[in-house]
Symmetry: C2
Subunit: 390 residues, 2 copies
Amino acid sequence: MNIQYRVLSLLRENGPLSRAQLADRLEVPRPRLLSELDRMVAAGRVSEAGPAASRGGRRSTLVQLDPGLRFAAVDLGASSVDIEITDGTLTPVASCSEPADIRSGPVAVLGRISALLRAMADQGHYTRLDAIGIGLPGPVSFRDGIPVSPPIMVGWNRFPVRDTLARAHDCPVVVDNDVNVMSLGERHSGVARTVDHLLFVKIGSGIGSGMQHHGRIYRGAEGCAGDIGHIQVEAETDGPLCSCGNTGCLEAYFGGAALARDATEAARSGQSPALAERLAERGVLTALDVAECASGGDSASVGLVRAGGHRVGQVLATLVNFMNPSMIVIGGGLTGLGYPLLAEIRSVVYKRSLPLATGNLPIVMSELGPRAGVVGAAFLASELAYGEEV
Amino acid sequence: MNIQYRVLSLLRENGPLSRAQLADRLEVPRPRLLSELDRMVAAGRVSEAGPAASRGGRRSTLVQLDPGLRFAAVDLGASSVDIEITDGTLTPVASCSEPADIRSGPVAVLGRISALLRAMADQGHYTRLDAIGIGLPGPVSFRDGIPVSPPIMVGWNRFPVRDTLARAHDCPVVVDNDVNVMSLGERHSGVARTVDHLLFVKIGSGIGSGMQHHGRIYRGAEGCAGDIGHIQVEAETDGPLCSCGNTGCLEAYFGGAALARDATEAARSGQSPALAERLAERGVLTALDVAECASGGDSASVGLVRAGGHRVGQVLATLVNFMNPSMIVIGGGLTGLGYPLLAEIRSVVYKRSLPLATGNLPIVMSELGPRAGVVGAAFLASELAYGEEV
């Protein structure tokens, strides 16, 4: 692994370090390290940060990531966009969020993102960007930086997202699927730090997963690994039609859209007076209504959460036997359903998977919550800028 | 990666090469290569093999793996043991097979394996072994070289298989699960050469799988990744009881034992006159009877093969979405069921998995057949001896 990357990522994780500390941790000959550091100072990536604490002998000088380094992290969802500008250590220096309809197409949406970024430059948050990381709500060809047949991103198929943003902001850009990005965020600074084999599961409007082995995203042969939303959980002839054209898919049973549909049905059929009341008030129900009614004790709402958790648990039980992960992290909007969802998932997995695979397997909620996407996107941007093959 | 390993594995794959060819392929400075080769000649791992074809200038001498290198490859099944002695290029120089009842316990079985190995030494096939590779029909802690709670290996739990064989034969020993070993064989010299993301599925008396990414076995957090036999294919309340104590497991529906059970039922109930005739003749039915009756046109037998293939296909469809492999290879004893089994598996996977994941996905039968185990065990032994971290 190249020394520059190792220096930059050490400074990213640790903050300022002395030359002596760097030489110790990297186990490279000191003269080689010093000449690399000189080159990095000249390139404006690293700068001096005052004297280090004395270790006896001549005082070493601290080095740090150059305070002018800036990354843009973009988390684009189906109906919103979140942006953070961070420094070289991924500490946010500015952020903004606004509604964004993915269906208005790539030109409009990316144009608006670029305008938001420029506004943040005008406010003095950066003069130039060192890299941009962006997560998209659909399958992405990571190598090419384009979405590939994304079901909910009408008009985006094969649009050159990476190259468009790179031209507009004159910096390197990295594009990935939103679930992979969230999983990177959770492993970099959330609950999954240092986990060897991570399975991150997003339950939002759709359902997806991202795997990391020793901190590297596993993408599979065509880059679509982790797409668990269309795993069949009921036989062909049963079950609701899925957006993919099949029936019986996990996503057709659970996830934001399915839950809203089932909640509306429970309200209309009289099974849930609590949901019926909300439906009458607002005309529409969301997963949040189910969460609130469930925690208020509405048995139909509790039933919906449990049934969904049960189905997710069945799929995860299969994947746990197959993959034998070190940790499962559940993220995405439906984590608002809280402990009843987690409890049901755990119960199925712990009951149905191999004892050897579940003996030391934590199944936990995301720690970063809605910030997982931007944190992961900033991390991805920094990996690109610091020279790691992402 | 260390030069010695790279030289040895190149000679293993290619046979004799000149020093010039080695220097070209390894892209290391010639003086460094030559001094490494001298060391390897002195250690008896590499020897000279006459002059190379001239490339102009001074003639280079061919080097080869020392002809005295010997590996023992052991494939231990539930009821049989197969052994091969190979040279350094993994070419067999001798082999033997005999029935072995795994239930007679590790002392008896390993004692018999050691006696067979010594007999092969007495016959002049080797004077000393450079390494032994052995595959066991159950979960293995690869790091410790011991079986861990293996369901069909009564009395073997945590028995020091590696250390016992290493002491008996005074050489390094590597122990792995039989499915991982078969998958290594298939990638080293079978149908899956150079495949990036391989999913190998064994359908024998039980059902298991082994994954390789860029030629390395993926083992998961506890080393039990790939255990797909106990994935639930029917809801809890239905289905036959599995040896693991759960109901509805894939292995309880299909695999050698389940197929024999269902065939006997079909014979007794009058559904299959062909199976009934065989049952009356022999008193017991096996998967082979089903295969033969199916190819003879017996509709009940064809139905059993299709139903089994369908269930395997359902599980694989899920795993394909999740893992997005580059190739699926089906091996193990039940591949004797032939094309109808493969056709059914393909039909379900191609119908149920994501188009992006199946667009370039070959699903093929093992090329090495019953030899996959010994070929993989020899490969594993050579990796250990040549210095690769296996």
